[in-house]
Amino acid sequence: MARLPNVRLDLLNKPENVLLVRETLTGVADATGMHGAELSDIRTAVTEACNNVVLHAYAGSEGPLEVEVMLDDGALEVLVRDHGVGIARGAPAELGEPGLGVPVIEALSDGVAFDEVDGGPGTTVRMSFNAPGSRPLEPTPEGSTIHTLTSPADLQGRSASGTAAISVAPKALARAVIPRLLCVLAARAHFSTDRISDSQLVGDALVAHAGPAAEGEYLHMAINVEPRDLELRVGPLPVGSAERLVLDSDVRGLGRVLEKLTDNHGVGADETSDTLTLQLLDRV
């Protein structure tokens, strides 16, 4: 029985998106108190697995890059998945030389397996790392399911280069990961340092106030990046909770952060869930 991931990232296999994976891992290390050397090896190994998806999985065209992080007591498992030809068959032939990526993964991880994706095509690289320096987080709730707003298939059809979707649990992890990712994406949107800082505050506010309904459940977010334009879609959220999230983001002296620091916000609702949309612009 596969465990549910603590973090799932849905990205396109673009070179710049590998940084988002590394930043996510740095957030995980922050949240778990992992040692610097442990984090460094994990970042390097996972980067190599992602690079292989970028370079080789789709024979020069675009496709999904999926990353899942699972925390266990004193250990970490990271899955990097593609739906193309994968690492095993693609890498060495195309490079014309023995690829460095796989030896690096093997040297830096405590275990690696290459599996065909069920119902293929595709390959999952499953890396495990011992991280004795890390402390356990609250466990991922049983029975929770991951609802990404955009499936990998949806992502493929998008024109925006920066589109990413993330699901993360528990809240302690979201607090460390979401603001960090928004900083990177705001920088990619060519925001000013002030506006990058605003994006981080919006991330902080979202994580802090996406409760109590979201307490212990996944926080799902899809982020679309255009030049000087960051659009966040948060959800599915419990029915009726999206507007309350905005109202609850009141900080003394600053007002409602999710209103004040964004240029637009909107609530979408259907019978089963809400979606909160936030747009940050940087008009220079």
Partner: protein
């Protein structure tokens, strides 16, 4: 010439470095030193650019060296066995001092 590298040298940044190295090479330099001491991150894509520059230098009779980097960089260089092929020096000043023919950047 010394090229001082900052930030993360990864798959996204590697083409930029390749362009800068080629630009430096076309200016007719005698020796090239890549200063890795300020890098925050290096992956195999970045390393491939470094090794390609080393290979060209060898073929064209130029001096080539890299400096020691932070622990993550050193570990990757070690795994890839780079120290067996590429001259690695403690810092850029060191090689410029040892090789008077190498122009300062």
């Amino acid at each position: 010439m010394v090229l001082l590298l900052y930030g993360e040298l990864d798959l996204a940044g590697a083409p930029l470095l390749a362009t800068e190295i080629e630009r430096a090479e076309s200016s007719g330099l005698d020796a090239l030193v890549l200063d890795l001491s300020h890098l925050d991150f290096l992956d195999s894509a970045g390393l491939r650019v470094i090794l390609a520059a080393h290979e060209r230098a060898r073929e064209e009779g130029r001096g080539f060296a890299i400096t020691q980097g932070p622990p993550q960089v050193q570990k990757l260089l070690e795994i890839a066995g780079v120290d067996r092929h590429v001259q690695t020096i403690p810092n850029a000043e060191h090689v410029l001092g040892d090789e008077p023919g190498a122009p300062a950047a």
